[in-house]
Subunit: 308 residues, 3 copies
């Protein structure tokens, strides 16, 4: 398959060879950034980076990717200043911007919004997150990070911890990693925030062993520990929240009870679910994971614009 | 005349040969964008794009123009973060920014604000819209679009529909097209939103036939149909609004009653005054019109910085 | 000393030879801007310009510096859209952005915040103002301006007028100029807004003559008159404010009572503490002072990235 001219809207349905292609180009991009810092690969391109809901981290990561490829960015970083405020549809906005740029990166709060934009225009569209829907570049940078940290994506035992019910990144990652024959998925969360049964069923249908647990100590036996934040606002009973949250905080101390070789990931931002004394451990991969986002987004930009 | 070092504050008073020069350079710029995508013409220039009131569409169009010319932009996209909030005058802000950049593009809500800035600084200033005042780059991109869509600007029959009383773009266009001997201006609006008599008188004094009508079906006989939005907030009596608005909605169905060769324009954003089933007709020029804005703004930037 | 890889967090403790080095490189940068307009010196660099509180003037000055050096900027211009809103610490934000860019410029409202960021990352950090704390690039551009306007930084008689109690720029300047053997510091303010005694003591310990006065007419005898704004909100008694503010307004008329050769500076924005009829006098250096900020910030960027 060629990615040229295609949209990147979801990782659902991406084939293993496509995922491997993205990871390979990402590694090339990392080489470019480490050696030349800035490339001229896309110097004749202009990219619209439309963040119609705030997400500084992801926006800056995309803009860095655009600029390290030598391309130019035009940016919307605030929904309130957008024409949407005047009642314009997403499709109309996209059809206008289509005439300005060579590619659209869009983040907005409506599930399916990126698809609407992709349907409206002929240029490539990259989904930077559509509400509770998809966030494919996050799932791809998670894969890239696992591959780099573990040396190989095949046969991993991955524990996901925290808010597995509402956590978009966990859902995407579960599917994106599935073609790489994971040995086991361990879903570690309080009952109220456990993963949907439908996802577990999908994974089991692919032959992946799935375990649910409420104990973070079990999760510490995995190869990869994927931490997420438990959001206070998900609880009706705040006392319940206060009781639970402490059980899902990763500290240096409890890490010693687990696999010494474990890789710790987190989509960030964190609040207090990983103690800062963990940051200095070689296992703490979450800032490297954030940095990998630039390489993966460079790869996707180059691929869809036919230059990779 | 040479545009080098001049300001672009209004189309009022622009001579026919000046308009023709802008249109000619715009066509060159379109060629550059279609072939090379990005130029190095202004690679040593920095342009301030100061949007002190929100207008994403126009801001992105100007930034695209700056970047496709190889120039760099520094941008303000939100009034609230500007020094104006600290009580600074427009003139002081401009005199500061003058030392940073080679050209200022400004949009702000006060009629005459762009003139104040132009008076304060020695570098060229381009008015990106000053409240209910002027929006010269919109008028010029409207002319450029008519010329491209019709093949020739001379002798056109142009119908303007919607809010002609408050619509800034309609006023500017009426004057900007006038040197090209329009055959007829048809002003199509409910009485409450009809064009000012003074504008009609000005046009008749230039020998242009002017017709007022409340019927969009008459307007459909023109060469060019320039649609605008009827704003709810202009009506004291909402029942009146609800009764009227349906009469000024363009649908595929009513278009069949008119000139088959008609060119449909709209300054965008639209809300529901053009039905989306019109978008696929070859006559629907409004997204091309928006795209043309980039070429016209490139032309103006290059002209005032002496590089066209 | 070499600045390569270092942070610029404060001017306190900067040695005279370091200050002289910065001023010398700033002059080179001014030459580049006057002749080539844009350089390729940092064309392989990306700089994060993180303004977590609004300050359009300083942000645009830094972005201009980045772009005139050929580097690329990724920008945050609004606290509300930052991940800080999700409870992320400054250190976490910085450790993420560290992987995107080659240098961080940061403005944020907490005293010591720039130091926290510098401690968290290995790349150079430039403090663009940390609340009531330091604003080193302002102090350095003030020195650069005095040197250009007076021909020499040594032995100046400098009067500072206005809000000396809360005015961050006055505090920084007082220390930054001190190695250049000022002949006299004159602190001109109403009692309620006079400079802290500790600063006066520090300066006297360096052998600098210090005078406090409430009379702006005395201040007019200095070589340099550094005006600042008296902020209404500092006064509990508004009647007191109204009575005082008029005494610290600089007009063309009262200037004739002072040193004809005086250099008038102001960190801007001004509200009404300098009458606009002063702007045309050759002595009025405050807009040139603002423009100098670009050269000084270019110098600092080039220095910390090891290219000056």
């Amino acid at each position: 398959m060629t990615f040229a001219g295609k949209d990147i809207l979801t990782t659902v349905g991406m084939k293993k060879n496509e995922l491997i292609e993205v990871l390979g180009i990402s590694a090339k991009m990392e080489g470019i950034v480490r050696n030349e810092r800035v490339s001229t690969l896309l110097q004749d391109k202009v990219v619209a980076v439309l963040f119609l809901e705030p997400s500084t981290r992801t926006r800056l990561s995309f803009e860095t990717a655009v600029k390290r490829l030598g391309a130019k960015a035009i940016t919307v970083s605030d929904a309130k200043t957008s024409s949407g405020a005047k009642g314009e549809t997403l499709a109309d906005m996209a059809k206008t911007v289509e005439g300005y740029v060579d590619c659209i990166v869009v983040r907005q709060p409506t599930v399916g919004g990126a698809q609407i934009i992709a349907d409206a225009v002929d240029i490539p569209v990259i989904n930077g997150g559509d509400g509770a829907g998809q966030h494919p570049t996050q799932a791809l940078l998670d894969l890239y990070t696992m591959q780099k940290e573990r040396g190989n994506l095949e046969g991993l035992k991955v524990a996901m911890v925290g808010d597995l019910k509402f956590g978009r990144t966990v859902h995407s990652l579960t599917y994106a990693l599935s073609p790489f024959n994971p040995k086991e998925y361990m879903f570690c969360a309080p009952d109220a925030l456990q993963i949907q049964e439908s996802i577990v069923n999908d994974m089991r249908a692919k032959g992946i062993s799935c375990v649910k647990t409420a104990s973070i100590e079990k999760a510490l036996q995995a190869d990869v520990l994927y931490m997420t934040r438990i959001q206070k606002e998900r609880f009706e009973d705040l006392a319940e929240y206060e009781k639970l949250k402490g059980s899902y905080v990763l500290t240096r101390e409890i890490l010693f009870k687990g696999n010494k070789d474990i890789t710790i990931m987190h989509p960030l931002p964190r609040v207090d679910e990983i103690s800062s004394d963990v940051d200095d451990l070689p296992n703490a991969a979450y800032f490297r994971q954030a940095h990998n986002g630039v390489y993966v987004r460079m790869a996707l930009l180059a691929l869809v614009m036919g230059r990779a």
